[in-house]
């Protein structure tokens, strides 16, 4: 059971790192905008070389 003397301080270290990361995120204003990142992911720039179904027909399906 003496292994706990190593494991517990190790977990403490992880916790400190996690806390530090969180504090950094708060300080750099990442919690100001809660909706933005969700949308940004969907609209990230795809590789323009990837062919996609992007035609006037598809637009007509959507809009009309």
């Amino acid at each position: 059971m003496d292994i706990l003397f190593l494991l517990i301080p190790l977990s403490l270290l992880v916790m400190v790192v996690a806390a530090g990361a969180f504090l950094w995120a708060v300080k750099s204003g990442q919690f100001e905008d809660m909706e933005g990142p969700a949308h940004r992911i969907l609209m990230d720039e795809d590789d323009p070389r990837i062919p996609h179904k992007r035609t006037a027909d598809r637009l007509k399906e959507e809009d009309r």
């Binding site: 059971m1 969180f22 933005g36 949308h39 609209m43 992007r54």
Partner: protein
Amino acid sequence: MSHASEVRCYHCTLPVPPGLDFSVEIEGVAEPMCCAGCRAVAQAIVDAGLIDYYRYRTEPSQNPEQLVPQALRELELYDRPELQRSFVQGAGDEVREASLILEGITCAACVWLSERHVKALPGVLDFSVNYSTHRARVRWDDRRLKLSEILRAIAAIGYIAHPFDPDRQEQVQKRERSLALRRLAVAGLGMMQVMMLAVALYVGPEQGMEPHIVQFIRWVSLLITLPVVFYSGASFFANAWRDLRHRRLGMDVPVALAVGSTFAASAWATVTQGGEVYFESVTMFVFFLLTSRFLEMNARQRAGQAVEALGKLLPGFATRVRADGTEETVSVADLAPGDRLRIAPGAPVPADGVVLEGRSSVDESLMSGESLPRSRCAGDALVGGTVNVESPLLMRVEHVGQDTVLSGIQRLLERAQAEKPALARMTERGTGWFVLLILLVAGLAAGYWWTVDPGKAFWVAVAVLVVSCPCALALATPVALTAATGFLTRLGVLVTRGHALETLARATHIVFDKTGTLTEGRIGVHEVWSTGRLPDARCKALAAALETGSEHPVGKALRGLAQVHPPAEAQRSFPGRGIEARLDGSLYRIGTVDFVAELPEGPGPGAALQRQAEGLRRRWPDAGLVYLGGPQGLLAVFALGDELRPGAAAAVAALRGMGLEILLLSGDAPEPVARTAAQLGITRYQASMLPAQKLAAIEALQQNGAVVAMVGDGINDAPVLSRAQVSIAMAGGTELAQASADMILHTDRLEQLAVATERARSTLRIIGQNLVWALGYNVVALPVAAAGWLSPWLAALGMSLSSLLVVLNSLRLTLGNAPGPRRPR
């Protein structure tokens, strides 16, 4: 009004007027555009290679206000150092940062578009837009690019950027929120770690865990709890100390007492290697309480972000006429009394003053809520913030800045806001007594055990304090309010002040304004009567033709009568009288009866027409009558006026069904008010009321113990909105009304008022249930602790279960059919 083959603009989806042929090639297909503005923006988007915008967007784009070359030149003024000082950081350095607010954003794709477009400009280091508040931060290298170029690029894709100067209060709030989040994070992480270790302590000793391991775990728990108590919990101690100094017993006193003494006792137990440790309870208290405080703070701060800066009411720039007659563009901040200004049609009036030359009509809806512009000529007064509609005016400035009427009203509102009568929160009453009770029981229990088993007395007292901690109690109200507010926001009802829901639930009377609240506040055509010389459809087409290009609300309403009409030639506008134009070779006029009768050919108004006019006036007492005449004589009469909102009747019936007393107080003339009241089934109403009289009426009701909810939209309602215990503004209303109201109906649908009131009452009920449960738990647990039967795991279990139950109960408030996400206007 839509025909089967109606063509809609690809960009903004408004109908394309027939005969127009704007189009932009998007991916090989020529897509139709409704105006030069949409075409310019679409072309800019295509040229920038950002067509993905049309793929991503979920809402139609806003029809871009075409920035006149004049306005574009004005953008250059933003490069001036004096102006930049107020909203640019690092003004004077090479790398500068500025805050902007963007107008015209309708969905997430708009944000994506503007970010991509601006970031692509050489010299822009960073540009990011907040999706919820539409505020942007831009960082650029001033050597390579000027701010005005950035603003111009934003305008090119159809959005308008205003410089934004967050006032001090907002910066304070931001700091507050950031600190609260950090404390919450530390408490949360600490709590999770300590609880894991605590489980080991619950079961370990029975399973033969060695004492040195137990000690180790205890010491580690102590170490982790230290920052939780002293960093995250610092505010409890500070507040409790402040309360004690003022001889008050607030919520923080038992919290500070419980946290402090439990921690101290557990530390003592760790050092002396005896007794019980309650570190997990301590960290749990701190975390739950910080959560509830955080939710409350969020609710409070929402007010500032819901309504955009009022400063936008006054324009940024004005055209000053120098003594020698030449004109210069200056910023409004540089104006002084005595300056002469030229105000173009469609432009807002920059400051209070007097008309020197010119004759036009001015939209004063910001002041009076009336949608019909009033005519103004030399000698008449102008109020800063109102909009000049028809023709250019020359004015002399009388008051600027703090002396303007607008500033005066804002100050009045701020003062009224501070004195606002609010009902006390349910939880704050009796807190002091609760605290005393706890302390008494703790003291009694300790005293009893002291006589029986002194060693146990201390631990029993600690146990009592542990269970007494008002965790669930503190969570009871904020969680319920947050859940209800979230539901209402999705419905389109924005709650901007914390007390609004609780007060709305207790409302006994509800007072409506008429124009703009119960009615649309827009001019529509009620009825058309033709003399028979020409068919109805032809009359409508002629009227629409005469009103092409008119900015007047009456003109806009008439334009909507027909989609297809002959082109108007030689169009001339006679302010205050009407419009004349040549259509299909003949001269036609539309406007007042005298103006139309002046046409060279055709007989004047006959008896039949008089009777018809009177009939129309009887049917629509508040309508304005507009006549159409041509070579055949008088052709038709149009009755125009304000229409009742579609949901008004249903809303009033629903609210009455909930037991509220409905009143209609309006500044309009008696007949229209009586008619509206009759249509809605309102028996208590009064007309021709001045704002001061409305205020007096509400105060009279309040003196009889009524809780008054007021629904309004105009600035003239603003002082009254502040006086009512809870006030609701329409989103289509003036910005000042929205800023002073406690709730805003974003979708302008009155039926949602009934839903909101119902939900507010549920909220109060659920808060009551939460409080009963929280107190019940305390009442049951207290004797258990006093009898010495409480162990750490029992305390932790009880606390987390009670908090969980409160939260789950509150989540019931998010249930229900909120119609899918509605785009606020």
